[in-house]
Symmetry: C2
Subunit: 240 residues, 2 copies
C-alpha cells in the first residue's frame, strides 16, 4: 500500500463543504468518487481542514492509501479527469507510509478577504466592507491573538476539537487595494473560528471600543462579533 | 431632460452579452428594467462597448436621458437596489446634455487574461494556458498592431462597424503570475477582435513562426489564430 499527498484547490460556492455526507455535493465526496474511478479502489480520503459550505481552498491537503501502480503525475491527471471543474488537484506526491494530511499537519493558514468597493465580478469570493476602517486598531487587536491561547470565545457549541487551545503563529492584515486580507496561521482552528475572529476585528475596525484580550479571556461566544459569511474564507496552505 | 453617465461592472457568466434581446438575460436589459423601476421612466440606455455573451466588464460606461430629480448618488443606490448581484453601478454622474457613452468615447481598453496554472477558483474568469510561452515573440508581434491599421483579419463577416480601421494606442502583455494579461487600447474594436488577436498572439507565443504584419496585411480571417473563449475578456475602461 502506498500513501499519496494531494494539494487541492476548490471553489466552495456550489459545495456543502469538505466533509462527505449523504445526498449532498461535497468536496471529499467528489474526490472519493474521482479517485475510485481513477484507481478502481475504494479509498478513505483524509483532509487537513474540514471547510464549511461555501468556503474555498487554494491549498487544501488530502491523503489516502492506494495499491495503484500509477506515478503521482499520472494519478493527478487521472483524478483531475474525473473531477468536476470546480475542484482541481494541484499536485500529487508520494508520502511516507502512514502519513495523515490531518494529524501530521503542523499549521494551517486561512485568509478572510474583504473587498473595499461594491463588486459584481467577485461577489462570491470576497466580503464587501465599504465603511472606513481603523486598520491600526484592527492590527493591534490581532496582536493579542498571538501565542498559545484558549479560543473558546470564537467557536460554537458544535465544535468537537480535542482542545480549545490553539497556537496562533501569525495574525495579520494585508492590504492590496481594493482587497484587505486577514491572514491567520495556527496549529489548528476551531469550528467557525476564522469567521468569528474576522467579524470581531471588523467591528473593532469600525470603531467599537472592544478589548481583544478581554474578549478572548471571557471564553464566551456572545462576546465575539458576528460570524462573517463563508464565501470570503480561503484555506490557503497547510504545513507539515 | 438630464443626461447621466454610469460606470458599470458585471460578471458576464450568466448573461447573453450586453445588448438587449427578447427572452434572454442581457446586461442592457437588466439595467433598463432597474432604471425603469428606479425612475418610473422608460429610458434608452447606450453602452460604450457591446460585449458578447460571457464577457465581463469592470468599467463599462452607459448613458441615458431622464427627467428624474434624484441626485446621482441617490440614483446609483436606487438602480443598484433593483439590479441583480452580478451587475453593479460603480458610479453615476451627470453629463453634458447629449452625451453618448458610445459615440463620445475616445478609446476603450480591454484585457484578455490568461492563467498559467490549472485553477478551480477562477475557471470562469481566466483562460488556462500551461504551455511554455515565448513572451518576447508575443510582445514583438503586438508591437506590429500599434497605430491606425485595418483590422479586417481579426473580425468576422457579422461585424457591422462603419470602418475596419482602428487606431491601436496600446498593445501590451502584463505578467503578474499566475496571471498574464493582454492589454489593448484602441479608439474602437471590431466584433471578436480582442479574442482573435489573443488567439493569434498565443499561437506565436507557442512557437508558430507567424509574422503579425503579414497576417494583418492579409485582411483575411482565416490567417488569424483561434478566437479564444469569452470568459477571460474584460472591458476595463472607456476614455472620453
Amino acid at each position: 500500500m502506498r500513501t499519496f499527498k494531494l494539494i487541492i484547490e476548490y471553489d466552495g460556492t456550489d459545495f456543502h463543504g469538505w466533509q462527505i455526507q449523504p445526498r449532498v455535493r461535497t468536496v471529499q465526496g467528489e474526490l472519493s468518487r474521482a479517485i475510485h474511478h481513477a484507481t478502481c479502489e475504494r479509498s478513505t480520503i483524509t483532509g487537513a481542514g474540514r471547510t464549511d459550505a461555501g468556503v474555498h481552498a487554494v491549498g487544501q491537503v488530502a491523503s489516502f492509501g492506494s495499491g495503484t501502480a500509477m506515478s503521482p503525475a499520472v494519478l493527478q491527471r487521472a483524478v483531475n479527469g474525473w473531477l468536476p471543474r470546480d475542484v482541481r488537484v494541484r499536485s500529487v506526491e508520494e508520502a511516507p507510509s502512514g502519513f495523515s494530511a490531518r494529524f501530521d499537519a503542523k499549521s494551517r493558514t486561512y485568509h478572510y478577504i474583504f473587498i473595499r468597493r461594491p463588486t459584481a465580478l467577485w461577489r462570491n469570493h470576497y466580503h464587501l466592507v465599504t465603511a472606513d476602517l481603523d486598520i491600526r486598531a484592527m492590527r493591534s487587536a490581532l496582536g493579542e491573538l498571538i501565542g498559545e491561547k484558549d479560543f473558546t470565545t470564537f467557536t460554537t457549541a458544535d465544535d468537537r476539537s480535542r482542545t480549545k487551545r490553539c497556537d496562533m503563529k501569525r495574525a495579520e492584515l494585508v492590504e492590496t487595494p481594493p482587497l484587505l486580507a486577514l491572514c491567520l496561521t495556527a496549529d489548528h482552528f476551531l469550528h467557525h473560528m476564522v469567521r468569528a475572529i474576522a467579524g470581531t476585528v471588523l467591528e473593532i475596525g469600525r470603531g467599537k471600543p472592544w478589548n481583544m484580550a478581554d474578549i478572548l479571556a471571557a471564553r464566551d461566544f456572545s462576546r465575539a462579533g458576528q460570524t462573517l459569511p463563508p464565501y470570503a474564507l480561503y484555506l490557503m496552505s497547510v504545513r507539515y
